[in-house]
Symmetry: D2
């Protein structure tokens, strides 16, 4: 089968033929049809510091995908060949206290496909039955292919709790953009989006943000407070990982409000804990992955309700072979979300 | 001033001249402009068993209203003459453990205006400063006049938690009808409305219900389950007070779901607690009044967001003098919500 | 191996030799050492209406136990032969929305060992790996054998939330008795126990109840209110299943309080929902089984902390062969909790 | 009356005669009997950077106290002369969204007695009726005098939720010490205390800590993990304000755990948000003051239950005149908690 692999500790990927993965008794073999390209893939492609520390080549990349079940192991009961599926890419040990109490998404021994073990940019991927998610017929393929990042947005929004609340989103990369219709559909009364990229802010507006702001606007904290009766917003969804966005975002939240942190700062940052968190009585939530499978059910409900339309975000659907172009579009900032089509151009 | 009063223990009200109420140092005198007519008023008008047991004539009726502050007591700081206001009609003692821990709405010594003390169907009403709610300029008068029942709907919806959830509403009288746009705006993924009145079900559809059902449909529990993957809905909002609606509503909820009970059964009812609640692991919430003032802030946020439009529910706005017609419209089931206009026809 | 079986649809059990159960790739074979006798076993023994409707002979009885792993299936990873274990007796399908969102204990397709499939009153039992609970060395065998009912008590207490709260327990059968030290260790500020059996009430006192009351005491609701500043208790733990206990228990709870229902009424009961639940703004929780495995971790933490001592409750440890005497002791009300010892008297 | 005042912007306090404060219609005049000395008072005494920035002399110091109502304003209804009281020292505006939704403790316009307005180190203090807390006869005077810092401990413990959980407390100054019996009484399964002061750690042990550790112990994070099955504790109660304690404390918390921050860092600190909070899925809670009055009821319940004994913490009860000795004992670290007795030595 074809697989897009990081072969050596250097920039770039190689598309080559490799054997179809074998499956054990509790595994499911999935024929990949569509796969989303993530910023994480970009990090591995360009072989940055984080990738060098984490990734061990050779490795098949990719963790966002949907496809059709090709075969199942002898002990698999919940899914059958021919069924249309996506899958949770965090493979947890399922035996620790976290896995046994509904927190498998933060299992200490979690392995991520396409990062720690072979991933989804290939014609086939083997997944544990536990991780497979059967797709509702009402979910379009392109949306199903990006349930992973959409799930990040849903997890963040639902952990913060936005029903009837005012919300600031700092950072509207693809997950931040998804968080806009998700927050609105989940009940947010108002959504303000902040970024430095005018094209992304324009897109944020189209996706339902009430107002958008350039992060470098002087007096932006006060601007936000003015729109919220001087109090500040109820909820911050931090999706940039930028130290200055975190600092100003925390200032925008009202006393007693909630800040959900999804964006990953690349280094330690300096925080005035007393002024930003303690005196204000804030609740700060670290968000990682997606709850298995509460987030997946919520994501499905939101998409099926018709209130989360991802089409404006999926700026490109490219044939698998054009992966280099995909990474170039990502690098240039031209694309919001790119989906690779693995099925359209092969004789399957 | 004019006041609509229950004068004697018998059916009917009398509109007559009475002195303007006096206010103490912590009270606010409000010039009433618009007032909503509630089923409770109808009970007192027709002098049914409940009214006979609870109401002590003579009494000014009415508890849903908005108006303008006419005067304030010497110790009042938070509101001033000329300001546009509504008010919470549950007057709590503010000294008990419930009032001191954010649960004043269920204070054991609560008094309700228009039921236990003089109410709002009058040119002026005196209210404690604590109960007065300053109106945002963006809230239209008619909506402001019915923040009390709208608050019941919001309290029920927010207590249950509907974000990304499937919801059944049993009973679409005026509060049940309001609960439909409220639930949608608060994030419900789907809303099913059930009643026996075809006109109300028609209105429910216009207000955003995904589907509506006659409560007498055979196999209705199974119908609802079919729409929710065989599991049942996540949330029941019970707004009928009917024993059979409660019983079938509880059957429609999935295991582990939530039932919020607002409708008041007139008698004890028979429940199979084991099958309906215990084995299913349900959470059942008794809902009373509105949280002071969390519900009011939520209600304001929902209306200001433009996502809760009550206009289809307010079927009639009548001059104050036509109160008898209002109660006749209520009795006949012709009206959903009636608002009395006290200002339009007086020389103030 | 020996197994205690319901052979025919009639009263009594038969201890006889049967083959050791076979295990599949994901199963664990456990050598049973100690097993608790439950009221449910008593229902099956006496072959009452409930048992006749639910149980299909022949069947090995028993669902509370501990023992040692004798063998594991080929795909089992988390447990090995020789390890000391107990197990969750609710076998869920692990594929439905409830199982996939942390609510396997209320899976609609749950099967209970000793009720719906062969149970633990036998030298060996086969359990799915998912259900096996590895025992901490600090947990004594007798306590480990009754983690199932202890878990019911812990689930009820933790769902209600008792930290700094006042608590009434209605019904101090063995689970109600366990709930007393559990509630105290979990932070209850005061615990009142109510029953009709003086011996059980005496035991309740020894286990840490602040006060105990005969359920038939006139004016008992007022007695409880007097002890809680006239307000009523914060939390009701209903463990009797009696209609009158439920009604008076709900009256004892303060407005805004919580009632957790574990006791199973044998029939429908009559409730004044308006007065008991709705006007009071109560939260009523149906409790079933134990959360997998949050309850088990909580139970372990409580027992390890040394603050939950079950020794006064385990009134008898009997050799397996004396099962008839066990059921006679249960029937007569002489015993609180009986543990059968399967290991002490066999050549294993 | 006597009052201990900061007269000028310099170190030290002056005890002098000043007029008894006047009260308005909604105020209560309290005859102070006993008052606790807090680290905040010490900051004001020594006139450090924080005090210079915040405090405007002249000012009566002191915010922890109990006494007897001497007089009430004309509109006061809930308390009467002669009643024994303490009071919440955070005076909120009671009109903002926070005050109106149960979060008055983090009102943006809060004024603190003894810091922003005249305080409790005086024979009399005037307090708004809203802030007065009637004392249960079962609460000893010395405990009542320090309900303010005890309330900080209770607020932190209850916000984190410790029932059946493992807990680390970093920093056992007087509030950290109080948090030990509070956490145990509230249901913590295990409590580990960390500090650099051996005398305080010794006291921590006496107050019920399972184990105590010097914060400078090499490998301390691993030590704590070893005691919690390698996972880390469920809950961190941070009461030191030290950057290194916060950093190592966060490392000690298991994935998915909770960190409640009460200690106030004097400067910004550097945090690796990705590793300490985001990837771990932590919940971080900023804690300020006490919830009005949920925390007060919880505190009362804990003390009345007899499970929170503060006597080992109150190392000194001194006559009011010996205030200089009190601050010297504070400065030297000899004292844990000092209570000043204003009544014992005056002709009242």
């Amino acid at each position: 089968m074809r697989a897009l692999r990081k072969l050596r500790p250097e920039a770039g990927f190689v598309l080559e033929e490799v054997p179809i993965p074998e499956i054990g008794p509790t595994d499911v073999l999935i024929h990949v049809e569509k796969a989303g390209v993530c910023g994480t893939d970009q990090h591995i492609y360009s072989w940055d510091k984080w990738a060098q520390a984490r990734v061990k080549p050779p490795l098949v990349i990719g963790h966002e995908f949907m496809g059709t079940v090709a075969a199942v192991g002898s002990a698999v009961r919940s899914v059958a060949a021919g069924e249309r599926v996506s899958a949770e890419g965090h493979i947890a040990d399922l035996t620790c206290v976290l896995c046994r109490t509904g927190q498998a998404h933060i299992c200490e021994r979690v392995e991520i496909i396409g990062v720690d073990r072979d991933g989804a940019f290939a014609d086939y991927i083997a997944m544990p039955e536990y991780n497979v998610w059967k797709l509702d017929p009402a979910i379009p393929d392109e949306f199903a292919a990006i349930f992973d990042p959409l799930g990040n947005a849903v997890h963040t929004v639902m952990a913060a709790g936005v029903s009837t609340k005012s919300v600031v989103i700092t950072g509207v990369g693809s997950i931040g953009l998804m968080a806009i219709p998700v927050a609105r559909a989940a009940g947010a009364a108002s959504v303000y989006a902040i970024d430095v990229n005018p094209a992304k802010l324009e897109l944020a507006k189209r996706l339902g943000a009430d107002e958008t702001f350039d992060a470098r606007t002087p007096g932006l904290v006060d601007e936000i407070k003015r729109r919220t009766n001087g109090d500040g917003v109820d909820v911050l969804l931090e999706m940039s990982g930028s130290g200055s966005a975190i600092d100003s975002g925390l200032q925008m939240v009202r006393n007693g409000g909630t800040a959900a942190l999804l964006g990953i700062p690349s280094d330690s940052i300096n925080i005035n804990l007393a002024e930003r968190i303690i005196f204000k009585g804030l609740t700060v939530l670290g968000i990682n992955g997606r709850k298995m499978f509460e987030t997946w059910y919520q994501t499905q409900a939101l998409v099926k309700s018709g209130r989360v339309d991802l089409r404006p975000i999926i700026t490109h659907v490219l044939p698998f072979e054009q992966f280099d172009r995909a990474f170039e579009l990502m690098r240039s900032g031209e694309a919001a979300k790119i989906v690779l089509d693995l099925k359209g151009d092969i004789a399957s």
